[in-house]
Amino acid sequence: MTGGRQSRGIELAGLTKSYGDVPAVRGLDLAIAPGETVALLGPNGAGKSTTIDMLLGLSRPDSGTVSVFGAPPAEAVRSGWVGGMLQAGSPPDLLTVREFVTLIASYYPHPLLVDDVLRATGAGELAQRRTTKLSGGQAQRARFAAALVGNPDLLVLDEPTSGIDVEGRHEFWKVMRGFAAQGKTVVFATHYLEEADAFADRVVLIARGRVVADGPATEIKAKAGPRSVRATLPHVDVGSLRALPGVVGVERHGDAVVLSCSDADVALASLFARFPEARDVEASGGRLEEAFLELTAAASDRCSEEAAR
């Protein structure tokens, strides 16, 4: 691969796509740098799969452009720069797992060794088994091996671990990390929040066909609006607590107070400075799940407002 191509990364600009009257993607912009591992996170029907189809050249956007390492997606795929693991992409029938992975390897200009990949993905023991005689988890390992064996620069995975147990997911991401560590670009769609949080450098939250948040998982969490700080603090009046920097709301429950914060770090610091007697202090960082619900709900509100207009 040439340095020039690699430096181009992936660009999705102004993408829209409708199926009949139903808009699936409505103005999506996203730039991905080479070597990044990016999660496309969103509820079902958010437009993740449609976006992935356009990224892979499987469907043509109604408007907007897709560029993969400086080339149109179809050309990138033809050149062997791209590996994909589609949601419903079962291996062909009448082949063994080894034959299936060997077949995929034969399409690529610089494939990895089939045996190495089978071993790494835990599909080694399945090598002689027919593709139609696999459990869900086994089929997923075979498909994963097939996605890696072409040694592509960009790996695109559409909900790669759906229907897989926790242990299987863990194994999957361990191998995936090793692959990404070689400077590969990885884009995966998921609706498992913890997966996006744990494995992506960057989480792109998609709702109603648009990007509603984009950044490291921690940044997305911070966007979840006020976090709360809880403390045991009798005999302090609510008004003086509300006046603390970083605090936007206060509730009292007997001896305990709950502060809603615009900036929890500032709020904690000022709380300890003014009221050193505060005990049992607990800060609950907005969890990704809350951020997710909040941000996607905000997007739906905007959409219904637009629809009402």
Binding site: L58, L86, L95, Y107, Y108
Partner: protein, 242 residues
């Protein structure tokens, strides 16, 4: 990247599909022995009945072999494999070549078995006649290979068997592979426009005329010219969907 592996595995898959292969190879033989066996001394259209019926069964068996092999694409589609292939560097042309070769490789043993069955019932031809009959059959199969591929792109996997069966029986029946039912007038003019008519005539042409008449070549060519773009449209439509 040469595509050789793809072609090899496509053929491997075709020959591993044991049950489909068994039906394809056995059905014409069963029909041939049960019908020609009892009429081995009869004469039809100026030739011995076993020879006459052998040419029909060769056409029928070869049609079945090519349409059902191309139609296996419907299974690839329903499994999502056809779509998965779209995100690999495999060229559509390689895919097409592999399907056509696989279809011919099933048609060849189907033909050979029917010819052997004919020989056991006393059919005896010169080498040139066998070769010419086989050659005309292989050319006449081109529209059926294309029809198999189109069917594979259009029908869902679970509708494949009735679709293949229906298409082959209709073409075989009207084309005269199961017996000539339309021998005059408008119906004859119509059935002469079917590629299966000329497929069924391949044997007789080799025996009596030495070749298809121009009309035969024209019909097969016209079907091919129409079906190639249709197959390409079906392929693209399939790719664009979802």
């Amino acid at each position: 990247m040469s595509g050789a592996t793809h072609v090899r595995y496509e053929i491997l898959r075709t020959f591993r599909n044991r049950r489909a292969l068994l039906v394809t190879l056995a059905l014409p033989l069963v029909l041939y022995y049960s019908i020609a066996g009892g009429n081995r001394h009869a004469t039809t259209a100026g030739i011995s009945f076993p020879l006459y019926f052998m040419t029909g069964m060769a056409a029928y068996g070869a049609m079945w072999a090519t349409v059902s092999t191309g139609g296996h694409l419907a299974i690839d589609r329903s499994r999502g494999w056809a779509r998965q292939l779209r995100v690999t560097p495999l060229r559509p042309r390689t895919e097409m070549v592999a399907k056509v070769l696989a279809a011919y490789l099933v048609a060849l043993p189907a033909l050979a078995l029917v010819f052997l069955a004919g020989a056991t019932l006393g059919v005896s031809l010169g080498a040139a006649q066998w070769a010419e009959m086989t050659g005309l059959l292989l050319v006449g199969l081109v529209p059926f290979i294309l029809m198999g591929l189109i069917l594979g792109h259009l029908v869902p996997g679970d509708a494949l068997v009735p679709a293949v069966g229906g298409l082959v029986v209709l073409f075989a029946l009207f084309g005269g592979a199961l017996g000539s039912f339309f021998n005059s007038g408008a119906m004859l003019a119509f059935v002469k426009l079917l590629p299966s008519f000329w497929l069924a005539q391949a044997g007789k042409a080799a025996l009596l005329l030495g070749d298809w008449p121009t009309e035969g070549w024209a019909v097969v060519a016209a079907w091919t010219v129409v079906l190639v773009p249709l197959a390409m449209v079906a392929y693209q439509r399939d790719t664009a969907r979802a």
